[in-house]
Structure formats: structure tokens, C-alpha cells
């Protein structure tokens, strides 16, 4: 393996790609660099971004008053671009790329997608408020923050879920919506093979009734609110355990138990291993990571460090195909410039991964087969050329290659880049190379 390969793996698999000069600082101790990243302060700046509840309140207002709608439309667009820009800035120009990757990984795990228009204004805020603070913290804390976030409660309909026998449910003859209950089990915690039944889905939905969003007339509209009068009364049985008649404490206890469930450890370990090792990760790696999850009570910093210890990570360079988002961030990161958010959005839309707009609560797929099709590879190739053609200041591609990979690329790629007809073509070839298409 060429000398800097471990550094390349550290930079690309755990971060996005080395920014100019970064590879040299990683090369001395690639594992140590990743580990140290977990203790860094994030350099993400939320300056100028609206809190989630404020956006939710604005959307509630527009739902009530027609006159508010044109203004909201403008605000949603501006918010989307500002959120995207802040996220891109940290990922492309920042010094804590591992924290940024973890943020995007968990944000995808707990997807809130603007494909449902009603949450369009709050997807970025959700990531900032419910995901970011917890990526090196405890899984349970993230799960709590996510489940209580107005973005998630609206996205998966829990805000409108009424206990059928609750006071408000009976008065308004409204009933249960089990959307959040199901996705919590299937996607967020146990996994689809986690051994739960339809009765468990309904039980969790009942447990979570009353977890909703404060209405406009509330003193703090758009924030999380538990309303006892829509909470389903009575005991509930989830996964064989009885949750006695109570209030918000039922949900808190259920989330605690779900976070500690062995199936959750295995589910998270599988997703982590798939993200950081290979589309089909080795079973023993998954087992070891799951054990750390269990033994540390879901300490996500320890779980990330466990991945780092897996030999399989370091054995196989370029094992993962970059998603369009990873490709775009990495391409800009290696040249050290950030695109305008509108340009980034247009590019990612054409590459089928518009930010904050995943097609379903399952988020974006994390395997190559989802991203490599004949049409998509042609479009990726086109984008590589467009990217290089549009750069205001085009660096020497030979320098970029050296600072991003040292000597780690195959000779044929190095030769193609060196002999390209102009700098932009050379840079485009580097970005299009099979190695840059992967991480």
C-alpha cells in the first residue's frame, strides 16, 4: 500500500476529503487524527439561521392566513439556501470534517425530509438542534431530542396523533396515527428485523400520543409540547414490557428501553459498518461494534472509535462509492473553495440527491448500487467537467492531486491528470477518476 493510503482512508472515509495541506497533518497518525476529531469543537456556525420553532410557527401562521403565504414562500427559500450554505461551509472549509460526516450520517438516519412541504422550513433546524449536539454523545439523548423535535413530530404525523380514548380524541373523534411509532421501531431503533410486531407499533404510537407541537395560540408556538388531554389513557404493552398509565414519562421510558435494546445496538452497528467499512460489512466487525454500543450504553464517541479499530476499514481503500453530496463536498474541499448554495443545490438536484429532500423517512441509500446506474454515471461525469469549468480560480490539478492523495493514486490516473489538455480538464479528470468517485 503506498505510504499515504491510511491517511487517504482517514481523510475520505471519516471526513470528506483532505483540504489543501491537510493530508500531511493526517499522515503521521491517521487513526489518531480521526480520534482527535471526535474531541474537537464543531466549527459549524448557525449565525443568522432561524430556530426550528420559529419556522414551525411561521408555517402554522401561513396555514391559517392566506396573506402570509407569499412571504413564507420567500422565507422558506432563503432559509433553505442559508441552511445549505452553513452546512456546506462547515463540511468544505471547516477543520472538523469528521463531526460534519457524523452529523450528515445521523441526520440521514433520522431523516426529516422537506419532501413533505409542511416541514420544508425546519429540516435544517432539525439537523442543527436534534442531531448536531449529540453526534459524539449518547444515542439515547439524540433519540430523545429527535423524537421531541417539532420537525420530526410534524414529518411523521405524531403532532396530529390523538389517543382515541383521550379527552380530546373522544371530543373531536380523532384517532391514532402510527407513522412515528412504526418508523421509530423500523428505522430509528430496532431495525426492520428487530423482532417487533404490529401490536408493538400501535402500542408505541399510543405511548407517544400527546407529544406534539405548540399551536399558534400557545405562549411559545412551534415548540415541543406534551398535552395530557390527547394522551391515550391506560397501560400499554411494548415488546413484552408494560408501561403503566402515565403521561410523557411513558414515552421517555419507552425510548430509554428502545435505546438499550440489543436489536438497536445491532441495527446501528450495521449501519455504521456499512457507512464506514463497506456496503456489505464483515459480520464480525458489526458484532464488535454492536458490543461496544451495548457495553457503553450507546456512547456514540466510543462506537465511532470502535469502527476505527476495525482492521477491515484500513484493508480496503476506495471501498465505498461517494454519494453525490459526498462527491460535491469532496471536490470543493480538495480545491479549498465553497460553491454558492444555489449552485450546489442545482448540481445535487441533477445528481438526484437534493439536500434535506430525501425521498422517504428511510433517508438516502448508503450503498453503491443506489448511486451507480448508466444515467447517473454519465451525469456524474458531466458534473465533474462542469465543476472544473465553473471554478473561478482553477488550481494546478497536479498540485491538487498531490495534496489530496500524495502518491496514492494509480499511475494511469496520475498520468491522465498530468497530461490533460488544460488545468480544468485535468481537475475534472481527477474528480471523475474511479478513486475520487469513491472513498
Amino acid at each position: 500500500m503506498p505510504a499515504p493510503m491510511a491517511a487517504v482512508i482517514a481523510a475520505t472515509r471519516f471526513g470528506f476529503a483532505p483540504k489543501p495541506g491537510e493530508l500531511a497533518t493526517i499522515a503521521g497518525d491517521p487513526r489518531g487524527w480521526v480520534a482527535a476529531q471526535l474531541n474537537r469543537r464543531s466549527d459549524f456556525s448557525p449565525t443568522g439561521l432561524s430556530p426550528g420553532p420559529e419556522m414551525v410557527a411561521a408555517m402554522l401562521a401561513a396555514r391559517r392566513d392566506k396573506e402570509e403565504r407569499p412571504e413564507l414562500k420567500e422565507r422558506l427559500k432563503a432559509t433553505y439556501l442559508a441552511e445549505l450554505d452553513a452546512r456546506m461551509r462547515a463540511a468544505i472549509l471547516g477543520d472538523a470534517p469528521v463531526l460534519e460526516r457524523l452529523t450528515q450520517f445521523w441526520s440521514n438516519h433520522f431523516t426529516v425530509s422537506g419532501m413533505r412541504p409542511f416541514v420544508r422550513g425546519v429540516t435544517g433546524a432539525f439537523e442543527r438542534e436534534a442531531i448536531r449536539p449529540h453526534v459524539t454523545g449518547r444515542f439515547l439523548e439524540m433519540l430523545m431530542a429527535v423524537t421531541a423535535h417539532p420537525g420530526m413530530l410534524l414529518y411523521l404525523d405524531n403532532a396530529q396523533s390523538f389517543g382515541p380514548d383521550s379527552i380530546a380524541g373522544r371530543r373531536q373523534s380523532k384517532g391514532l396515527n402510527e407513522n412515528l411509532g412504526r418508523e421509530l421501531l423500523e428505522l430509528h431503533t430496532l431495525g426492520v428485523d428487530g423482532g417487533y410486531t404490529q401490536a408493538d407499533v400501535e402500542a408505541l404510537a399510543r405511548i407517544l400520543t400527546g407529544w406534539t407541537v405548540a399551536p399558534l395560540r400557545d405562549w411559545r408556538p412551534g415548540t415541543f409540547r406534551f398535552f395530557q388531554q390527547i394522551h391515550e389513557p391506560g397501560d400499554k404493552v411494548l415488546l413484552g414490557r408494560t408501561y403503566h398509565n402515565g403521561g410523557i414519562d411513558e414515552g421517555e421510558a419507552a425510548l430509554r428501553d428502545l435505546a438499550a435494546h440489543p436489536a438497536t445496538a445491532r441495527h446501528i452497528a450495521t449501519q455504521f459498518a456499512r457507512h464506514f467499512i463497506a456496503d456489505t460489512p464483515p459480520a464480525d466487525s458489526v458484532e464488535r461494534i454492536a458490543r461496544v454500543f451495548r457495553d457503553t450504553g450507546g456512547d456514540l464517541k466510543q462506537v465511532t472509535l470502535a469502527v476505527l479499530r476495525e482492521e477491515a476499514v484500513w484493508r480496503e481503500p476506495f471501498a465505498k462509492v461517494r454519494t453525490p453530496t459526498e462527491l460535491l463536498i469532496s471536490a470543493y474541499r480538495v480545491v479549498g473553495t465553497k460553491p454558492e448554495p444555489g449552485l450546489a443545490f442545482m448540481a445535487l438536484k441533477k445528481l438526484d440527491q437534493p439536500p434535506f429532500l430525501a425521498p422517504s423517512p428511510a433517508g438516502w441509500p448508503d450503498v453503491a448500487s443506489a448511486w451507480v446506474s448508466p444515467e447517473s454515471v454519465v451525469r456524474r461525469t458531466e458534473w465533474c467537467q462542469t465543476f472544473a469549468e465553473r471554478l473561478a480560480d482553477v488550481p494546478d490539478p497536479v498540485d491538487v492531486m498531490a495534496s489530496a492523495y500524495g502518491e496514492a493514486l494509480p499511475e494511469e490516473v496520475q498520468r491522465a491528470v498530468r497530461h490533460a489538455p488544460d488545468k480544468r480538464a485535468g481537475l475534472a479528470l481527477l474528480i471523475a477518476s474511479p478513486q475520487f468517485q469513491r472513498r
Binding site: 448508466p374 444515467e375 454515471v377 469549468e389 465553473r390 473561478a392 491522465a416 488544460d422 479528470l429 474511479p434
Partner: protein, 406 residues
């Protein structure tokens, strides 16, 4: 791919707004008769010996072998310019301008440096310096400095990012088509080569390209004007024409920009260059049709226009092992426009008997002499400024005489 509508929208909307909206006509009062200059950068090293073939040179046909252009009159033969020189048949779209006395060929030109690296040579061609050290701006931007009055933008970068030649202290406008577009064939080939051993990406790319060419064929056949707009804003040879049309309209506007730079790639023909037809022929065709479109869309303003092409170096005289040509030395410049005293071939012909390093056409005319003449006689720049600031330390290179109509 941009549709016709996208392009029109752009012309009428954002692009025009950024390029022209804030330019009062008074900004041009000091420029001699509102003259226009367009510099076309042919990146990748255009083969000057293929563009304008020295058929009268006895060494040409033997040295060029199967890439030699056939004489005028034969099938796919060259288009006679003089008794010794013929234009490549795929450049037919600019031949009429030669007949009208509006096209001048300056053969055997070079840019004053010895390097066969595209990156270095393009940097120097655009910076106007003779060493790679300390490049921060381009010579066309420095030429703008005395012309630029106030904060309104006289310079225009056409198609994407501002090239080095136009970068510098003087702010310039830019026009770029929306979206992102079909990749250039040369680039696709290079990528395909890198993917050849890749079991995942290789077959996907091949399959995708096949599907793309199929749908292009269908669209071109079924949509009126579909073929004309195909590749608008893209990177292949057909992408040049829509850019030229846009540039012409912007430059023609009364309060529009006056001095533009644009790129056309695809000239690095190491492989399967072809005499006629071939990849180089397709590029020539796109180039010539683009220049013709530029002239058309400039309308009346064509009278006051000079278009000049330049490339970073030429190509080897002999054919290489893959039916192409490698990096050489001298190439040529096309000087085109209503303000040009054309209909002839300018500059000395160094001949092919003695070659540079026994492989390349030697340089007879320094391109900076051509540019100095245009900047002085067409735009009224001071000779001293040209020799010290625009092309520093080039006092010895005199502006080439008689390029323009009096």
C-alpha cells in the same frame, strides 16, 4: 441540456442584466468608435498545419503522411486561399469572410516561450508574461485598465468561469448558460479509459453513453431546431456556436460590453485526429460555425469588430503512432472581422525543411506582435503601455503592421 427557451431566457434576463444593465452609453465615449474585440482561446493546442495547410510546401505531404490535406478539387480537399495554402474543408463556414477580405490568417505564430506543458503554456499565453513566476492577472484585463471608465464593466467572460486572460484588477462581466451539460467527447473518452478496468463504473458509463446518444438522435429528429440547440452550453464542438450567438448579442447591445474572451477546447488531438472527417474536423466545424454565428449576431457592429483566435502551441509536423499529433511549437491565429484587412495570409512562412528540434513548425511571428497591433490600432492603447504593462519587457516585439483597415 439547455433548451432554446433557457438560452433565450438567459439572454433576455439575468445574463444581460449583469452584463449590461448598469452600463450607460457614456462609459464608452472614450473608446474609439465603440470598437469590439473578441479573443477566442483554443485550449489544448490547435493543429495549425491542419487548419491552414501549406499544400505548396514540398515537404508538407511527405511529412504529414495520411493526415495530409488533399488538394482543392479532390473529394474532401482543402479550400484554396492562396496558391500555396488551403483552408481545412470543415472550416468552410469562415471561407466567405476570406473572400470578402475580412479574414486574415497569421501563420506560424508562437507565444514567446518554450514549453510543451498545456498548463504552463496556457498560463503564459493568458498572462502575457514570459515566465511562470508571479502570475496574478491576464493581459487582456491589463489592456482594459486604461479603457475602463467608472465602475461599469467593459470586459465580458463568455461561458462559465472568467479565464485567466480576463482576470485582474478590472472587474469584468460574465455570461454563462444555465445548468450543467453534456461533457466534451475528449473528456468522456479520457474518463472511459480510466474506467476501463472498473467493473462497476466502466460498464455503467458505456451503457449510459449509448442511451444518451440514442435519445439525442430521437430528439434531434423530432424537434424543429433541436439539432441546432443540441449541446447549448455544453462542452463539445457544438457548444461553441450558441455561446458565440450569445456573445454577439451582448456585444452588439449599444450599452453592452466591448471586449470579450471565450474558450473552445477539444484541440488536443493525440489520437485519431483524422484528416477529413475526424475529431479535429468536427472541432473545426464547430469553431467555424461559431465564428460565423458571432458575425451574424453582431449585425451592424461586425464592422467595428476584430475577432482573434489563439492557442497555446502547435502540434508535431509528423503523425504519431496513434494517427494523431503531439505537442509542438508554432500554430496560427485567425484574425476576423469587419475591421480586419483580410483576404490574405500574413507573416513569414518558415518552411518545413528545417524543423524546431526536428519535429515542430518554427515560430515566424510572435503572437504578442499581433495582439499589440490590434490593441494599439483597434482600441487605441498606447504603445509604451503595451510594451511595459500589457506584455511586460517586450519592447523588442513590434506591433505587426497593416492588420486592420485604415
Amino acid at each position: 441540456m439547455a433548451t432554446r427557451r433557457d438560452v433565450l431566457k438567459l439572454l433576455g434576463g439575468a445574463a444581460c442584466a449583469c452584463a449590461t444593465a448598469s452600463l450607460p452609453s457614456a462609459a464608452f465615449a472614450d473608446i474609439p468608435s465603440s470598437r469590439r474585440l473578441v479573443v477566442v482561446l483554443q485550449r489544448g493546442a490547435m493543429d495549425g498545419l491542419a487548419a491552414v495547410a501549406p499544400l505548396g510546401d514540398p515537404d508538407y505531404a511527405p511529412l504529414r503522411g495520411n493526415l495530409a490535406l488533399k488538394p482543392p478539387g479532390e473529394a474532401n480537399g482543402g479550400l484554396a486561399l492562396t496558391k500555396d495554402f488551403a483552408l481545412h474543408p470543415s472550416l468552410a463556414a469562415i471561407q466567405p469572410y476570406y473572400g470578402k477580405g475580412e479574414l486574415l490568417v497569421v501563420h506560424a505564430t508562437g507565444n514567446g516561450y518554450q514549453t510543451r506543458s498545456h498548463f504552463d503554456a496556457q498560463d503564459m499565453m493568458e498572462s502575457g508574461l514570459s515566465a511562470k513566476r508571479g502570475i496574478t492577472d491576464g493581459w487582456l484585463n491589463r489592456a482594459l485598465a486604461p479603457l475602463q471608465k467608472g465602475k461599469d464593466r467593459l470586459g465580458l467572460a463568455v461561458g462559465g468561469a472568467t479565464p485567466l486572460i480576463l482576470r485582474g484588477a478590472v472587474p469584468v462581466a460574465s455570461y454563462e448558460p444555465a445548468g450543467f451539460h453534456k461533457a466534451a467527447p475528449g473528456f468522456v473518452d479520457a474518463v472511459a479509459q480510466l474506467y476501463a478496468g472498473d467493473k462497476l463504473l466502466g460498464p455503467a458509463l458505456q451503457e449510459g453513453l449509448k442511451a444518451q446518444s440514442f435519445s439525442d438522435g430521437v430528439l434531434a429528429a423530432s424537434m424543429p431546431g433541436g439539432d441546432a440547440m443540441k449541446g447549448a452550453g455544453g462542452f463539445g464542438p457544438k457548444a461553441f456556436k450558441p455561446l458565440c450567438e450569445a456573445a454577439g448579442k451582448l456585444l452588439a447591445a449599444e450599452d453592452g460590453p466591448r471586449i470579450a474572451a471565450m474558450d473552445m477546447g477539444g484541440w488536443d488531438t493525440h489520437v485519431a485526429q483524422g484528416a477529413e472527417p475526424g475529431r479535429l474536423a468536427a472541432n473545426f466545424e464547430g469553431f467555424a460555425q461559431g465564428l460565423d454565428a458571432l458575425a451574424q449576431s453582431l449585425g451592424e457592429a461586425w464592422r467595428d469588430t476584430v475577432v482573434v483566435s489563439m492557442t497555446e502551441f502547435g502540434r508535431t509536423v509528423r503523425v504519431n503512432g496513434t494517427n494523431g499529433t503531439d505537442h509542438g511549437t508554432a500554430s496560427l491565429m485567425f484574425v476576423l472581422g469587419g475591421a480586419v484587412k483580410g483576404g490574405r495570409i500574413a507573416g513569414d512562412w518558415p518552411g518545413l525543411r528545417e524543423l524546431q528540434e526536428n519535429r515542430d513548425l518554427r515560430v515566424a511571428t510572435d503572437s504578442r506582435g499581433v495582439m499589440k497591433a490590434i490593441l494599439r490600432d483597434h482600441l487605441g492603447l498606447d504603445g509604451q503601455y503595451l510594451a511595459s504593462r500589457v506584455f511586460p519587457d517586450t519592447g523588442a516585439i513590434k506591433p505587426m503592421g497593416g492588420l486592420l483597415r485604415a
